[in-house]
């Protein structure tokens, strides 16, 4: 069974049609990239999957369950975690505290008023794991707001991972980053996908990243799906070249 099935979703903002009748299927363990020029409706599409926006029409099925009308937190509880194009973290808390909150919420302790020593130890151990995985161990006690853009982004991805998601939605994880940072984030995503078998949907602008990482690519333009296929197929697709790659190259 597919992990995520998006069926004919559309989003209208008044008379503007941001996403027009788009469908997509993601299999477990797949890394799917969504690409397209600015204003193609990528982020809107993402926002509907994560519940940030409600679709005007269409259906979203996650692991066999129709989640189209669930509010965001419930979709998170089902196992969908996301990051944002503009990094969303808790800037005045330390990296450790950021991750700790994520771990506690994910473990269902969000209403707990007290933690036993055991649980406290488990939470701390999990936070240390995440710090190491994200290469943040040496910055654990600094405020996230003071870190570099790349480290903030890693923190955000690690917070999403703390939720033990079954599907990870990454919205332009390398946006606004230099070459070195882009490389590091790309390595991290590859590790998550290849080694840890995470299912990931990725919006990306940087073509190198996309063709490097993705199993399959979907191309959006002006709210419509233009093409779908493996990186090779997409690279060879003339419509895509005309609409997007051609422009990017020019």
């Amino acid at each position: 069974m597919s992990l995520l099935r998006v069926e004919n979703v559309s989003k209208h903002f008044g008379s503007l049609i941001a996403v027009d009748n788009v469908s997509m299927t993601v299999e477990p363990g797949e890394l799917r990239a969504v690409i397209g020029p600015n204003g193609a409706g990528k982020t809107t599409f993402f926002n509907m999957i994560s519940g940030f926006l409600n679709q005007t029409s269409g259906k979203i099925v996650f692991d066999g369950e129709d989640i189209s009308s669930l509010w965001p937190a419930r979709r998170v509880w089902r196992g969908i975690a996301r990051t944002f194009q503009i990094t969303e973290v808790f800037p005045e808390l330390s990296v450790r505290e950021n991750l700790r909150i994520a771990v506690e919420v994910a473990s269902g302790y969000r209403l707990h008023l007290w933690q036993s020593r055991n649980i406290d130890g488990e939470v701390k151990a999990r936070v240390v794991d995440l710090l190491e995985m994200g290469g943040l161990a040496d910055k654990a006690d600094r405020l996230v707001g003071e870190l570099s853009h790349g480290d903030q982004r890693s923190t955000e991805i690690m917070m999403a991972l703390a939720l033990k998601p079954r599907l990870l939605l990454l919205d332009e994880p390398t946006a606004g980053m230099g070459d070195q940072e882009t490389y590091e984030i790309t390595q991290l995503i590859r590790k998550l996908h290849r080694d840890q078998k995470h299912s990931i949907v990725l919006i990306e602008h940087d073509m190198r990243v996309v063709f490097h990482l993705a199993d399959r690519i979907m191309v959006l333009a002006e709210g419509k799906m233009l093409a779908e296929g493996t990186p090779k197929e997409i690279a060879a697709n003339e419509t895509v070249q005309a609409a997007y790659l051609g422009k990017a190259a020019a």
């Binding site: 994560s50 937190a73 808790f90 505290e97 994520a102 506690e104 919420v105 994910a106 707990h112 008023l113």
Partner: protein, 316 residues
């Protein structure tokens, strides 16, 4: 190191509070003034639970303060002559009102939330103002006073002994403040910080933001009604000014003056505010202009508050 500092600070605060009735006289104050500081401090710290630690701007907390005060006064006057029971009634009344109004407004944000809380705050003002055969209307509710507390083995005469009353209030204050500190250090408290820091991130971590804001609003209003109840006991009197908009403004400015981001900030703000109010209103009739100027100056030159500035200095 930091936890050590915090512990030292806590010990100093509690020692100062325990000894306040003694050292305040040396400074020309009196015991009731100490109690007043505690009451305002409790109200502002309770407001700050929401304002500083959940990041939600409520400008209508006087409503729940006043409901607590009227709950206490009316219980003693009409129902039963017991101070603890009266306080309980005051808390319950204030918290129920907060539960209902909180439920109506948790979906609103920012300035809109602030404006709706201001407007709702006035409902209870008009009710107490208009319903004068029960509440005493504009003249306030008189003809009652706090009742000595009977513990079985001993009797604490809080009515005639202001120092005894101060220590009873201090004990209640300690319990209330302890509970708030405990809540803020729990996983639940950390979800509130998360909402303050970044509501969108909090929501997409799976925190049901509205529900947690509602809970925080409730907790905050519970302790504000407790403070209101103590305020009524302190004065042996309550009138509609206890729940008017200017009282809400006082709580907010106290929290800002002391430092919204620190736990003890509002306590320092309350001490400054109460002493200043006592001093200035004995000097001039234009307390209102003075207070207005005070607001303007704090906002323009002192927005981080006393503890905010101290903390900044110690970091640099």
């Amino acid at each position: 190191m930091e936890t050590l500092n915090r512990q030292t600070a806590n010990i100093i605060v509690w020692l100062l509070l325990l000894a306040m009735p003694f050292w305040i006289k040396a400074l020309g104050g009196y015991t009731e003034l100490c109690t007043q500081v505690l009451v305002y401090a409790l109200a502002a710290m309770a407001l700050n639970f929401l304002l500083g630690f959940t990041g939600v701007l409520s400008f209508g907390h006087a409503a729940y303060f006043g409901l607590g005060a009227y709950g206490v006064a009316m219980t003693i006057k009409y129902l039963v002559a017991s101070t603890p029971l009266a306080l309980l009634v005051g808390i319950v009344v204030g918290t129920i009102a907060a539960a209902i109004i909180g439920w109506l407004i948790v979906n609103l944000r920012g300035v809109y939330f602030a404006m709706v809380t201001i407007a709702f705050g006035q409902v209870f003002y008009f009710i107490t103002f208009r319903w004068n055969n029960v509440t005493g209307g504009d003249d306030g509710l008189t003809g009652w006073s706090r009742v000595p507390i009977d513990l079985g083995f001993t009797r604490i005469d809080i009515l005639h002994n202001p120092t005894a009353f101060y220590y009873v209030v201090l004990a209640i204050f300690a319990v209330a403040v302890g509970i708030m500190a405990f809540l803020l250090r729990s996983p639940f408290g950390r979800t509130l910080l998360a909402i303050r820091e970044n509501e969108r991130r909090a929501r997409f971590l799976g925190i049901p933001v509205e529900r947690h804001i509602w809970l925080s609003f409730l907790i905050s209003c519970l302790f504000v009604s407790l403070a209101g109840g103590l305020y009524a006991l302190l004065n042996n009197f309550v009138d509609p000014r206890a729940l008017r908009w200017d009282m809400s403004g006082n709580f907010v400015i106290i929290a800002v003056l002391g430092g919204m981001r620190s736990f003890w900030g509002p306590m320092i703000g309350a001490a400054i505010f109460v002493v200043l109010q006592d001093y200035v209103s004995s000097m001039t009739e234009n307390w209102m202009s003075f207070l207005g100027l005070f607001f303007v100056l704090i906002v323009l030159f002192f927005p981080r508050g006393v503890l905010g500035i101290l903390r900044r200095k110690s970091l640099s």
